[in-house]
Amino acid sequence: MAAGRLSEGGFATPDAFTSLSWESTGSGPPLLLIMGLGLSGGAWWRTVPALAKRFRVITYDNRGTGDSTALTYSFTTEAMADDALAVLDSAGVERAHIYGISLGGMVAQQIALRDPERVAGLVLGATQPGGRRAVPADRDVLCFFQRRSELPSDESAWGSVAYNYSPGARRTKAAEIAEDVDRRLANPFDEHAYRAQMCAAALHNCFGRLAKLDKPTLVVHGSADRVIPVENGRLIAERVRGAKLRILRDCGHLYPTEAPQVNRVIADFLAEVPV
């Protein structure tokens, strides 16, 4: 445990060509945050201060995002799980809580299934189990995300607002959304890494194995999520034994901006789980 440690960082090197930038904030039981499609670890900026009051929060940049570099990209959630574990190794953490959002939630499922001894509690945010029964996004959303990497950065970031946030948030939280977009534009992603991550999300398939998952699990999902429909959150919660489901009413995909109060729910849930 990292008592007294406030802020530090480093680079994990899972192979000779790969360097994954990570940062750790706060002290307490370790909590690894895994970000979703095309976003760097910095995109957790709203969540880290809230959770770092009670945990040692570790964020990192997936390959091709932020300060992480690699010769090849991760085309599967299995490969991304290996990267996440390399980050834990580099941070000197044997066992941690894992919280992943969207594609990060798929990576978190892989870690919990494959290396359960390294996982204490699990939080799966706005994610899907994969397989035939996962519910895909509607056609407009899929078309946008498939051609997003071809768009100029600002058009891509602003264009995604209609899909990532609920109509209610777009009316009442315009300033917060603009802050999110500014942060995203400050950390542009590599087009090839983005495509690789799209591939990883499309190939992800943990549906059947989730029934074997034996970890305290909290599933969080916005009821108005267009990117990964809320039915996926329900599917996961039904499959994972004893999982708790928290549906955030009228929230979209990027619920940490729309419902920051959920951080408290997550912290309270994880605080009950010994590391």
Binding site: D15, A16, T72, T77, A79, R132
Partner: protein, 71 residues
Amino acid sequence: MAATDDDDWRMLAADAVEAYEAGVRATTDVQRHFARVVDVEPLHSVATASADLIRDVSAVFASRARWLLDV
């Protein structure tokens, strides 16, 4: 009864996919260990890249197999 038999076969097939994954992981772990011990280029790079490639290709196979089996 037919449904139960079908479920049994699917679970067996799912177990086979898992065994395949575990075998691939063990193989790639050996390759990575070799790469760490023999830290000489180009052996190190070839072993590491090969391990990554095998992991990714096998993950794609496993994902597709699970899709077909619906497990």
